[in-house]
Symmetry: C2
Subunit: 234 residues, 2 copies
Amino acid sequence: MISSVDNPTVKAIAKLRQKKYRDKEKKFVVEGEHIIEAAREAGCLEAIYTVLDATPFDNATRVSHHVMKKMTGAKHVAPMIGVCQLRFDDLVHDRVLLLEHIQDPGNMGTLLRSALAFGFKTVVLDRAVDLTNPKVIRATQGALFALSFVFMDAASFNDAYSDHTLIATLPKGDPIDTLKTVRGPLALMLGNEGSGLSESTLNRADYTVSIPTEGVESLNVGVAGSILMHYVRH
Amino acid sequence: MISSVDNPTVKAIAKLRQKKYRDKEKKFVVEGEHIIEAAREAGCLEAIYTVLDATPFDNATRVSHHVMKKMTGAKHVAPMIGVCQLRFDDLVHDRVLLLEHIQDPGNMGTLLRSALAFGFKTVVLDRAVDLTNPKVIRATQGALFALSFVFMDAASFNDAYSDHTLIATLPKGDPIDTLKTVRGPLALMLGNEGSGLSESTLNRADYTVSIPTEGVESLNVGVAGSILMHYVRH
C-alpha cells in the first residue's frame, strides 16, 4: 500500500494531469473499470491503482484515499485508475476516418466511439484535440484503445494511400446516395466544427456529400460523421 | 445605456443563472448572435443587451462591460445576450422524439439539433435534463426555439396519442430494416445514457430495433437517435 504523497510514482502520476507531461511520458490516466478493462484488453495498460480492498484486476496497487486524490487532482476519490499508453501503430485499414482540426473533446470522443462501432479502425488526425484529454477518453467509452492512429494531413494521406477513395462531407454537397456505388478502401473526411474542411482537402476529394436536413445550418460533426460511417459501412 | 449593476433589470437577469429562477420566471439567457437570431425568428426573444455600439438587432439595449459581466457571471464579456422564453405549445406532430431520462446536456442538445434537422418537430420529455441549461442551449445551435415540447412519460403519450407507432431503440433489438414498412405518425423513443429505456416503456413499443455495431457496447445516445431519425425520416 502506498500512503505517502511524496512517493515518486505518485508524483509522476500526478504530473500526468498536465498535457506537457502526458506528451513527454506518452502516458495518461483513465478512470472507471470499463475503460481500464478496455485498455487492458488492448495491451495498453501499464498499472492500476485502487483504494479498494479488491478489484476485478489482479495486479492493482493499493493506495490511500489521500494518495488517490493527489494522483487524480479530483475532489472525489476515484475507486481505481489505470495508467495507459496509446498505440501508434500507423496501421492503415480499408476503412479510415480522417479528422481535420476537430477541436471539441466530446465530438472527438463520440467520433472515435462510432468509428470503432462501424469498423473504421484507422483514424487519421490533422491538428486534433489532444486524445489523452480526459473528456475525450470518457466520451470514447474505451474505443480509443482499439483504434490505430496516424498523424498526417489529407494531402499527405492521399499521396501515401492513393487507393483510398476520399469522401468529403460538407453542408452543401451531393446526396449521400452517390456513395452507394463506392467499393474498396475509403477515407471519410470531416472538418472543423466551425470552418469545415479546408479548401485544399476538398480539392482532393473524390466525392463531396451532404446529409439532407431542414431548419438547421448543419448537423453536429459527431452526428454527421456517424451517420455517414453507418451508411457506408458495407 | 445601463451602467449600474444595481439596476433591477440587471439583477433580475443575473438571477436567471440559477435554475430555480429560470423555472420561476420561465425565462433564460442565451449568448451568441446565431442563437439570438433563432430565438427572434421563433418569437421567443424578449430583450437583447449588448456592449457593442451596433448590432444586427435594432432593439438592443446598450450596457457597460461591468453590467454584462454581472448579468452573465462569466469572466469574459459576451458581446450580446438575449433573454428568451421557450414555447410549450403542446403541439404533437407526426414525427415525435420521445426522450426518457436523458441526463447529459450535450446529448440533449445534439438530439434537439438533429430532431429539427430530420423533421421530428415534437419532443416529448420524461425526466429530462433542464432545457435551459447553457450547455444544452449551446449544443442545440438554436434548434430548441423551433421545436414543440411536451412533458409526459411514454405510457401517457401512448394513451393520449395511440395513432403514433412507438419505436424503441436498445443495444440488442431487431435490425433497423424492419422499420422500412412503417408508415404514418411515429414516435422514436430513446432512453437514459446508462440504463436505457425502462421496462414499462419497452413493453409499449411496437418495434424494438438496434443499430448493428462491432467492438463497442453501445453507441452514444445522440448518435444512435440521429442515425434512426435520419433512417426513418421519410
